[in-house]
């Protein structure tokens, strides 16, 4: 009976490997979706000026104020990219992992949930400015992404940031820097 159990376990592992091996490139990931339109509204603002350069300098300033390092830029295309390393530890997650490890230790086994706790993150910001369609305003669009590493230095999460508050905070700082109010699109 025990042998049988072992065999089925092996079979499951084999099946998992087989399925992973078959993972192919999904189709249609370059198609615009409803969700991407919603994100557009989140990430985009308009300013009542045609001075793109002024906005771009302000953007660079705001990013630096937020602790970002500028990685790349092309002023003629209205593009600035920046990134920032930050702490990603959360007390709740660490406490939970500690508790799990404690239970494992009490049960006489070796647990290492702590190694899977988030440790550090890199946030990438990319800003594009361009004239609006009627060429009377300037459109600004910022996108944030983040990569999170755990305690054993493995990537535990990659995601684009979709928290409206973060975007709002960025545009509040930008509006202050150029003395203009941001208009939602």
């Amino acid at each position: 009976m025990k042998k049988n159990y072992k065999f089925s376990k092996l079979f499951v592992v084999f099946l998992c490997l087989g399925i992973v091996g078959c993972a192919s490139i999904p189709k249609g990931f370059l198609k615009p979706t409803e969700a991407s339109l919603e994100k557009k509204q989140l990430q985009m603002r308009q300013y009542d000026t045609i001075n793109e350069e002024q906005i771009l300098t302000a953007v660079a300033g705001v990013l630096q104020d937020l602790g970002f390092n500028l990685d790349n830029s092309e002023t003629k295309l209205g593009f600035v990219a920046a990134s920032k390393k930050a702490d990603a530890t959360s007390k709740g997650q660490i406490a939970g992992a500690f508790f799990l490890d404690l239970i494992a230790a009490a049960g006489g086994s070796h647990g290492n949930a702590m190694a899977n706790c988030d440790q550090s993150q890199v946030v990438k910001a990319s800003v594009i400015t361009k004239p609006s369609l009627d060429e009377k305003k300037t459109v600004v669009r910022v996108t944030f992404q983040r990569i999170v590493w755990n305690m054993s230095n493995q990537i535990s999460k990659v995601e684009s940031v979709n928290d409206p508050e973060i975007y709002q905070k960025f545009y509040d700082s930008l509006s202050k820097a150029i003395f203009l109010e941001a208009q939602k699109i």
Binding site: K27, L30, K31, F79, R141, V158, S160
Partner: protein, 144 residues
Amino acid sequence: MKRLTRYFGISVILFFVIVLSGCATTAGKAFEMNESQVKLRSIQTRAFDTTDKQKMMQTVISTMQDLEFVIDKADLVLGSVSGSKFLGYAIVTMTVNVRPRGEKQLLVRANAQYGIKSVEDPETYQDFFTALEKAIFLTGQKVD
């Protein structure tokens, strides 16, 4: 004695097989191409009836942003834009190149990579060019 030398010979051969196979490098794998180069180029390229490179590049950037890419690099002189996007745990990277073709046209070429595989599916690229066409109000023509 004869047997012993035979075993010795076999083990020497085995030893060499193992050592020599260890010397094969995997660098060549990075340069492999599955589809024929010409076919792939026509899948990835469209020609547009415009000469405004800057506007084309701005539209490419906007389209990529609409497709949830984060722009990593852009260069007006080279005409290249690179961006990345996360799909679950996979990273999709794309580079789009814009360059003049003759006096009246611009060539737009897109290269996408999904994780460590390069994307060679025509439909995926068509999706991108359809989105780009809508944004620039022009139709892209296939080129050979």
